[in-house]
Subunit: 222 residues, 2 copies
């Protein structure tokens, strides 16, 4: 007896297979891999620029920057210097999938990487459904969005391990309430950990860098 | 000889068929229909609240509010008062499609509507591919996002007729440059028209309301 598998489910299983293969490879190499997701304009690229600036002299960083169109983000990350940067232009696709990552990794020597950031396409919906073999999904939200975003895009917050709240320098200029944002996110996923940062005035960034450092140091690659 | 049609293409054609049916119905009834799209947090719901407040005493408004999860947006629009509001919870789907709109319209008496707003799911990618029978797609972007969004999400700006740039009260607090945003958008689509507004301090809203009024007056429904 054969069972019909819906197309979506079949695609997802293939993605999961590749993601599992990637995860095992990352584990063997002792590489920390973070999948950074957010809506467009939350500040993913700016956060990565700051992170490169802070960590590049101490650790070996690689970054895969996914975009629907243009290599703008990758170009910005290259200009930040001292790290391996690969663009993925999805050409319309609304998320990165594990096969794209696997292909992109062909040109990266993983023996020379401590920390790999994957900057996903700006989209709070679709990337939630695609495992890329990462250790964690990090979801970035900003204080200029609504503090109810976790309730409205629950899949992403359920799949994520970390929430970074960016643009805290703009608190008070909108109705965004930090406590509500945290409460809404914890309602979806009680295990989330939070960072509150401003890439503009630098607040909270040292805590973020410190956390990344501890992840790398514990990975056993060093 | 039979030709195999890829699943996506088939779905899209079915959507286009329904959208064409909806468009003809809207035309017959003389209803202006605007499909409002943006990334999460650009201020779609707030703009609609302000728009209801300004126009509800003069025109008959209906609003369909799409969300992945929760009816928060619809609840906010209902509280704004004086208009017909219908939520669509997509339950994970990253866009509205024409069938959802057709179903939602079953509970709206279109003979009593001058202007229908469809608030799409917060997503700059996927909703670009789905015609909902609207007169125009209106894309909202905010000054707290990057001014390169049109280049990075070109399909949406290509399909749109109107760009509303929101949160101009926050100009100067980020690197967002209005002229660059316009130039980037026009590079994708030279026919775009622009509004620059702040839902917070009210700048530009009268121009927006005036444009909506002229659309309704010209529709022949009045």
């Amino acid at each position: 007896m054969t069972e019909k598998i819906p197309v979506n489910q079949k695609l997802l299983s293939e993605n999961d297979l590749i993601a599992a293969r990637l995860r095992e490879k990352f584990r063997q190499k002792g590489i920390i891999v973070l999948n950074l997701v957010s809506s467009p304009g939350s500040g993913k690229t700016t956060l990565l620029e700051k992170t490169i600036g802070a960590l590049k002299d101490k650790y070996r960083l690689a970054l895969i920057a996914g975009d629907v169109q243009t290599e703008n983000d990758a170009d910005r990350l290259i200009r930040a210097g001292g790290s391996i940067v690969r663009p993925i232009v999805t050409g319309g696709a609304c998320h990165l999938d594990a096969r794209m990552i696997e292909r992109s990794l062909e040109s990266i020597d993983l023996d020379k990487v401590d920390l790999l950031f994957i900057e996903n396409v700006g989209n709070l919906v679709c990337p939630a459904g695609f495992d890329l073999g990462e250790n964690m999904k990090v979801v970035l939200m900003s204080t200029t969005e609504g503090d109810d975003k976790p309730l409205k895009y629950p899949a992403m917050f359920r799949k994520a391990s970390v929430v970074v709240i960016n643009k805290i320098d703009l608190l008070g200029l909108s109705d965004f309430d930090l406590a509500s944002a945290r409460r809404n996110a914890r309602e979806i996923n009680a295990d989330l950990i939070f960072f509150e940062i401003s890439c503009r005035d630098g607040r909270g960034l040292d805590t973020w860098f410190g956390w990344l450092t501890s992840l790398i140091e514990k990975s056993g690659n060093r």
